[in-house]
Symmetry: C2
Subunit: 510 residues, 2 copies
């Protein structure tokens, strides 16, 4: 390449980066608006906020899908091929190309109609929940299914429509592969849950089910969050919200929310560890990726791997409680003063087949996801009608968990996800659970004696490992690329199942 | 006009309103980002926030100053002339035309340079304050003066450059007119302050200078704010910030902040009444003005009239304390339990020549503003060099208030305003003070017995009057247009001076 040509390429790359930077500014501003809406906004602010968000989203979408971006990507294709795959610039171009392709394949009318249908479906879903009657939601959900199918057609897929939707949140994954994953999980988890059910008297969580002062719960939760290394001071914030979430506007401004149950210590403590886990990922992404498409996690599932890591692998470990029980006793001497590490470890790991996904334990959680995934696949394949979802839902709950929801509210109507899109979101929870153990086991092998450090309240070894091996790459790699690079193999349930089986065999003395 | 022509006009008006709506969405989103920055953002968020705000502002500016807007305004000029002056559509077109003219007159390079120079001046100002040395700030301030002069040239003016800057915040006002206003104020206020100074032993504010629990101060402040009718629940919020401010994203989402001094009740209580006063204006603007340029107050000064009204005319009235002293006693029985209405009324109205504007009382406040206004005018006229500002400042303080600042920090360096622009902002405080009394006197005349209502904690008569006569018009009228319409005369210091003279003659038994 001549010097002039090189300069032209550099100029085009800068031009593209400038557009991407402005798109991110708009997206991050929208995120601030969302944070404010969930944590501070008075009810009266809703109408204006909807206008603001609509305008910001539209401007970001227009800017990102402009022909200018397509032309720049075309002009930079040779340059991209000449760069090392994992260089920043090649990765920016590759991820931009993928997202541009998604964004431009969706017809504007379909996007508008999706958004309209989702708003309607949300209201019908709320009504249906109030009446505990799925019937009220059926026609709205049918519309969402139809539009989700159209979306899949527009995006294109190799084997089945669901692949297109899965690929949006888990680039590279397909439905058939996930089906095999769930089959392996089912084979171990269904009998394990059953065996535990027969020994349910061996563990009690009464310790966590006492009255705990709300302010003290928050202080204790923040102590845990700080201990694992989430920066809550210079680079982070915590607030209350109805539905806990984490959000980030830059690695240096990452925020988490929680809710508190005065009668149960679990939601605030493990909820904060969960959101702070997401938060460590966001805080760990290099600041130089800011205002590029690399300023993101590898996928929703990989993001969930970090939240599950800290919530479950660490937060529900014996080593963690060796460190944290004295801290917890200082906050709640009356409730926990006489508790032993074994007691609190058992209480943190109680397994109970339950109806509600978000309250599910480590053993049964993936079964909740599997049920949803199987139902989505059957509906997409035309083997199941939307109207028949409640019966199919209940039958699967009976088959896998041995319980049947008494009504649709605690059954098929429990999740908000299907009001937005049918298919493509639930699988990420299971990918996260499974990946969290694969990654953590690799970290433990690389850094021996790590659990002894946890028992002393030192989590920096694990956090640094995750920062170096996972967070440092931002969105450079697809989830399986990253797992292969870091653990030596693509996603496999083996480490997860080994861990769960060993852990609960001991706890429940199976 | 034929039917087709009418439809074309309607279409163009809708097109313009759509642009204006999107501009406001961007501006309001920027305002949410500001609120977050001041009340929640961790330090690490600053760099990304600056990027977000810059992008949003640039998009709003580009959209508003696009040739499309100019063409639509031209095309709608006849339509505007045919409409009644105070109709919504004529007013939207008129205010848009004025703002479009301002925005397009300023060369892009000047705007960029202003913003760069302001950022630098801010840092130099901080350094100068730390060193208590104006010298450090001189060359930055000279640059701000030069650019402010260029700005005035670009905007255009009739008599003197300062007029152009004043017109930005107080449409229709000019420097000569304000000079006359200050002369009238000076004539009464300087001797009044002097007479009070000779009787300073007659009033003490020791009652307010005790230890007051921070949380209780906030609760009491919110009780006061709710009492005067600011909606803090469905349509408002309150938070802490270093510098108190009020902000609104829609009339239905209006927020105020405060700071608390544990050793002094004044800042939180009167500060909250002040910001809530601004807030009532914002909450009182008709929701139908949202996403138009009418979604605003008539001017900075008129806005200040509402904050001063509630902070001073009401909050420092005997009637208010008849109602509020029992409330305050319930919060602070130890500190205020034995206080009488007369004692607390006197404490709330102590007058003390002081160095700091934001701590100044009702009598001396306008002298602080006058000093700044006179200095700005002298610098603009070339009669005073920037380097000589400290000496001139100190001389004026001695002349008007009888005190001399011991250093620049509590003298010429105290305000942030000159880091942003030289000229055009301070006058609004005095316009606000003066207008607050003119408006309130009119309301008292229209609605007899109002002060008896205040003594019972009922402020709805006054609030409703302000809503009907001031807030309801949003930014439709220029400040003097509105005052003339509502009080029967343009801004005059007479009611203000009568009120202040009578009030303090009684309090200090002059």
């Amino acid at each position: 390449m001549g010097q002039e040509e090189e300069e032209a390429v550099r100029g085009k790359l800068e031009q593209l980066k400038q557009v991407l930077a402005e798109v991110e500014d708009l997206e991050m501003a929208t995120a601030v608006l969302y944070w404010d809406q969930q944590t501070q906004m008075p009810r009266g602010g809703a109408a204006a906020r909807a206008d603001q968000v609509t305008t910001l989203r539209r401007l970001a979408h227009e800017k990102f899908t402009s022909p200018e971006v397509g032309e720049l990507l075309d002009a930079l294709a040779d340059h991209e091929r000449a760069l090392p795959y994992d260089s920043d610039d090649a990765s920016i171009l590759r991820v931009t190309r993928r997202e541009y392709s998604h964004a431009t394949k969706l017809p504007r009318d379909l996007v508008v109609e999706m958004s309209r249908a989702a708003a309607e479906a949300y209201h019908k879903w709320v009504d249906a929940r109030q009446a505990k009657d799925f019937g009220i939601f059926v026609s709205s959900l049918e519309r969402i299914v139809t539009l989700s199918r159209e979306k899949a057609q527009a995006l294109g897929y190799e084997n089945e429509p669901l692949d297109a939707l899965i690929d949006l949140s888990e680039p590279g994954f397909g439905a058939a592969e996930l089906d095999r994953l769930f089959a392996e999980l089912r084979e171990t988890l269904v009998p394990l849950a059953k065996a535990i059910g027969e020994r349910s008297d061996r563990v009690s969580d009464a310790l966590f089910r006492q009255r705990f002062d709300v302010e003290k719960q928050l202080e204790m939760g923040r102590a845990a969050v700080r201990a694992i290394g989430f920066n809550l001071d210079d680079r982070g914030r915590q607030a209350l919200s109805v539905h806990p979430f984490s959000i980030s506007f830059t690695p240096d401004d990452t925020r988490i929310t929680t809710r508190v149950n005065e009668q149960w210590l679990g939601p605030s403590l493990f909820g904060l560890l969960h959101e702070a886990g997401h938060g460590t990922y966001m805080q760990g992404i290099p600041v130089r990726y800011r205002r590029t498409p690399l300023h993101n996690g590898a996928s929703s599932g990989l993001h969930e791997s970090q939240s599950r890591l800290w919530e479950n692998y660490v937060g529900r470990s014996r080593a963690f409680w060796r460190f944290f029980l004295p801290v917890a006793k200082a906050f709640f001497p009356g409730q926990l003063g006489r508790a032993t590490v074994d007691e609190v470890y058992a209480a943190a790991n109680i397994v109970k087949p339950s109806l509600i996904r978000v309250e599910a334990d480590e053993v049964t959680y993936n079964l909740h996801i599997m049920i949803r995934f199987e139902l989505e696949r059957e509906v997409f394949a035309g083997r199941l009608a939307v109207a028949d979802l409640p019966a199919a839902w209940n039958a699967k709950f009976q088959a896998y968990l041995g319980i049947t929801p008494p009504d649709d509210l605690v059954g098929v109507l429990q999740d908000i996800h299907w009001t937005q899109s049918f298919g493509g979101s639930f699988q990420s929870y299971t990918i996260g659970n499974v990946a969290s153990v694969a990654l953590c086991r690799r970290a433990l092998a690389d850094h021996l004696g790590m659990e002894d450090e946890w028992a002393k309240g030192d989590f920096s070894g694990l956090l640094t490992w995750m920062q170096d091996n996972v967070h440092a790459h931002g969105a450079k790699y697809k989830p399986n690329e990253l797992l292969l690079k870091v653990t030596g193999e693509e996603l496999t349930p083996r480490p997860y199942l080994e861990h769960i089986k060993a852990k609960y065999t001991e706890i429940y003395r199976l």
